[in-house]
Symmetry: C2
Subunit: 200 residues, 2 copies
DNA sequence: GTCTATATTATGATAGAC
DNA sequence: GTCTATCATAATATAGAC
């Protein structure tokens, strides 16, 4: 199962809107959505705050676009994983790699989608939460099937799911490509830890 | 090694300041520090915003108090663990239990200390980060000694450390005592997963 | 597409009566 | 210790010139 479909429309064409989105994601990660002002964003882009409104409708549109851009990277991948006939372990292995790839390639946006989604306004908020909930349910189903098939230990599936999903969180803050191990090494290390444990 | 010293001065005496701190922690977790207003806090306490200033100096004092309250729960525990002569595995086991206990007992404050510390102002911010950095360095040393002694697999210690620390994060959002497994079951499940892996 | 100027609203915090 | 009234500031967003 090769990783595909990770590219995102929103960061493909290098338009001004793309630039604003990337600057906003970086700022929202650093200071949080509420503490980041339109002036902050405008400063980094190199224009006046008022000029931003020629490219976007509102500050909240920036947040919503970022969160859905990340969500939309995971959804089609999960569909593929479910459709596949491989073992539970290789499905989980694939999802671990997927999370690490997306997080290291889009660290700022992943951080915003993980931590700032609360500030999305209805009705988009419900849509986002439903997307996330659906993803988690699919992941949990994979774990539960693995337990029934005897591939996985009988650890509570909710605990397993959230422990695994949480365990990637540090990457969005700490992973620096130039300082840390290469991504492939991180994938091997995290997979070893989650699948077989730290104990020798 | 029994868990001791988890009680906190700040939540022991039921004063008005205690109440304000608890309300603030809950609000900061729900909406983030920046999006939470003094009027929000005052509403939940049942007084006017101006009255809060008879008990606290500023909004930022609330944040700083919360973050250091949590930090100060971990520091003496880590000192004890280091001084102890037990095996690496039982030290890690103890620290896992410690994180789960503190997080389930003080979920809102842990969430704030983990996610809102960026808004602490200098010089307290540096002090907080140094405390955290020191804790992480101690934890990493334990892992590295375990690898050298042959108790742990040779997984990159930075990756191991942050993967383990991150893996508890879901508890601060998701753990509901009435809905989920009891804390002791969670401890067993997470320990099993991190120490020996999900694979059967 | 960017600017200056500004409307509108909300914030953290203080002063002073009770 | 709590209130009402208010200050000073800063936020998002819009209008209209260039």
């Amino acid at each position: 199962m090769p990783l595909i479909g990770l590219k995102l429309k929103v960061v493909n064409q290098r338009t001004r809107k793309t630039e604003i989105l990337e600057v906003a994601a970086e700022l929202f990660r650093e200071k949080g959505y509420s503490a980041s002002t339109m002036r902050d964003i405008a400063d980094r882009v190199g224009i006046e705050a008022a000029s931003l409104y020629n490219h976007i409708k509102s500050k909240e549109e920036l947040l919503t676009d970022i969160c859905f851009a990340i969500g939309n990277m995971f959804v089609p991948e999960m569909r593929q994983v479910i459709a596949n006939k491989e073992s539970t372990l290789s499905k989980i292995q694939y999802l671990i790699n997927l999370h690490i790839d997306i997080t290291t390639q889009h660290a700022a946006m992943v951080s915003v989608a993980n931590n700032e989604w609360r500030h999305i306004k209805e009705p988009k908020l419900s849509e986002f939460l439903q997307m996330r909930d659906n993803y988690e349910t699919c992941f949990k189903d994979i774990i539960e099937i693995g337990i029934r098939k005897g591939e996985l230990k009988n650890i509570d599936s909710t605990t397993s799911l959230y422990t695994i999903l949480s365990s990637f969180r540090w990457l969005q803050y700490w992973y620096k490509p130039d300082r840390d191990s290469p991504v492939d090494q991180i994938k091997r290390d995290i997979s070893e830890l989650l699948l077989k444990g730290i104990k020798k």
